[in-house]
Subunit: 355 residues, 2 copies
């Protein structure tokens, strides 16, 4: 007989936020010898969850259909048993990234992807930490080939999104640590004035632009170039997609890289017109797409190692903020999803499981 | 008083093929200490020359306005003089790539970019050799990161163009040298049936498609995927540009790379419609533009080294063909340009200077 547990489910298979409910009849995962079973204490909400809830982002093969890409919790059992030399034991406090299934009492996690929860950090903070930082680390270092000695400028679109909040802090810190005069300038775009101010005054951007404040075609792009001393941008990280495609080609410096991580504005290029792609060859640009969840575990382990090297020590010493916008009891997951979809938060939304 | 020489010039500054003429009052270049002056025996014609002739492709700063990107000839003088340890001496038979100025009796060339003309090769062959092979080598190895052990398939658009003739031979040879079962398949597109046959029977492509034989939208793309056993393509090298942008996104395999080297079909994406860029993120694609002439000399020296390693030995032993389509006396440069613009050649057009 299959053991059951409580997990967030979707009434009707797909739907809006209100279709979420806690299903006590969810099969409890059985860890493979490569996995541990974790009793979840907190999980973070991500954009991908709302897409999956609506049916636009199916989980990879073999992954439970339960939502949830990140968690903190305690090890409940060790797949293959607690042998000599086993890295993990029952009761260890851990956190990490998973391919799915974290909106649940229990989640099975590859042992290589688990990290010890530092005693000084809360369940909430650790439960809503991995997806955004891992995504920012991947975009900046692995796909974007960011090098503070060579990259003269970085632009994060959707500057107050959780990934960009992480990415801007990473970029600014790397610039500050590089004492050469060439240390990179860091820019952001937003679509709200308060978020624009937040990017500059709280996160330390060199400059930021509220794109809605420039109604003329090419207006906000020109403003960024002006903020950058008349130069194009070396590395652009974009979540908007189609509507910003031509803008990104126009904004990029020679040999510039544009990393596309999302299609929040849709997949279609702007205004229903043909696109002039000549900047790609004229400026030798690279436009590259990436996602984290589609990567195999070996790749994700590399991202985890970069996170442990470049991020975690700075969260522990207080120089990086893991911005948690709001914490909900998981019984209120409907409200939590509605808040995320309102686009009125700066930082992570986290649910806790106290039962 | 400035010395003069004969060089091809353009009546009116820019114009069609008939505006070309030999101007005996062209200033003779004076080599810097880093250059040699070469008396030209043959020069190759390139697409870039016709674009420059029409005013669409101005030479980089500091480069003579005379057309011509490749040459063979004899060293006429050594900049800085023939000191002890000097690599080159007057009378050496050489060939190479230049940023411009090869349609002339004399051209000044960076010493690092000169190569000894092998005694077994003709002036005509060496004069029309570098631009296409260098471009193919750059696209395949430096930008495309081609690796016969990892790259499962390569597609060369405009398969009977001079660059693709070189690139296909390079790809096929690399596949043949790799004895593993994963050795890459090589495909081409053309727009003429005879050119399609040429790519398969003469150049050794796994398969080739005459795109005009598939009038339905998506027809030729499907045919290539079918020729590739239902798989997308790992590395696509494209000279067509805008009209093939969406096709390339559709054709590419996961983690595929598309290298854009030209805009022969124009810069605008097809049919005046918005483009759906979602394949870029869904398949983690990279779309990257490159040109050879815009690269600094250090980069071009790297390309030259790859040419000397991977191409020249195979031309000398006969396994690679440097296809020369037609040779003209340079007094007939107008006819030579008209022939190139007819798109009815397979291989290089070369002019010789016998005076």
């Amino acid at each position: 007989m299959t053991e059951t547990m409580k997990a967030v489910d979707i009434r009707g298979g797909t739907g809006d936020a209100s279709s979420l409910f806690i299903n006590p009849e969810t099969p409890k995962p059985i860890p493979t010898p490569q996995e541990c079973l974790v009793r979840v204490r907190a999980f973070g909400l991500n954009r991908g969850d709302t897409m999956q809830r609506q049916g636009f982002y199916p989980p990879p093969p073999g992954v439970p259909k339960t939502l949830g890409l990140e968690f903190s919790g305690l090890i409940a059992s060790v797949g293959g048993g607690e042998n000599a030399g086993e890295m993990w034991k029952v009761g260890d406090e851990v956190f990490g990234l998973v391919y799915g299934g974290a909106y649940a009492e229990f989640v099975a996690v590859d042992k290589r992807m688990l990290m010890k929860k530092p005693p000084g950090l809360s369940w909430e903070s650790c439960g809503g930490m991995c997806e955004s930082w891992f995504t920012a680390v991947q975009a900046l270092y692995l796909v974007g080939e960011f090098n503070p000695k060579l990259t003269r400028s970085v632009l994060w679109h959707a500057g107050a999104s959780t990934v960009s909040i992480c990415g801007i802090q990473l970029s600014v810190a790397a610039a500050q640590e590089d004492s050469s005069s060439a240390s990179p300038k860091v820019f952001a775009t937003t679509r709200q004035e308060t978020k624009r101010d937040f990017c500059v005054s709280e996160l330390g951007c060199t400059g930021a632009v509220n794109t809605l404040a420039y109604p003329d075609k090419g207006g906000w792009e020109s403003e960024i170039v002006q903020l950058n001393g008349g130069q194009g941008i070396d590395l652009i990280i974009d979540f908007i997609g189609g509507p910003y495609f031509s803008s990104n080609l126009a904004l990029a410096a020679r040999d510039g890289k544009i990393i596309n991580l999302g299609l929040m504005g849709g997949a279609l290029t702007a205004e229903g017109e043909a696109v002039n792609i000549s900047p790609i060859i004229m400026k030798r640009l690279r436009y590259e797409g990436s996602t984290l969840r589609s990567r195999d575990v070996e790749y994700q382990v590399r991202v985890k190692a970069l996170f442990e090297e470049k991020v975690l020590p700075k969260i522990l010493d207080g120089s990086f903020k893991n911005v948690i916008s709001k914490v909900f009891e998981w019984e209120n997951v409907v409200e939590a999803h509605k808040l995320m979809e309102s686009n009125n938060t700066k930082g992570k939304i986290v649910c806790t499981i106290s039962s």
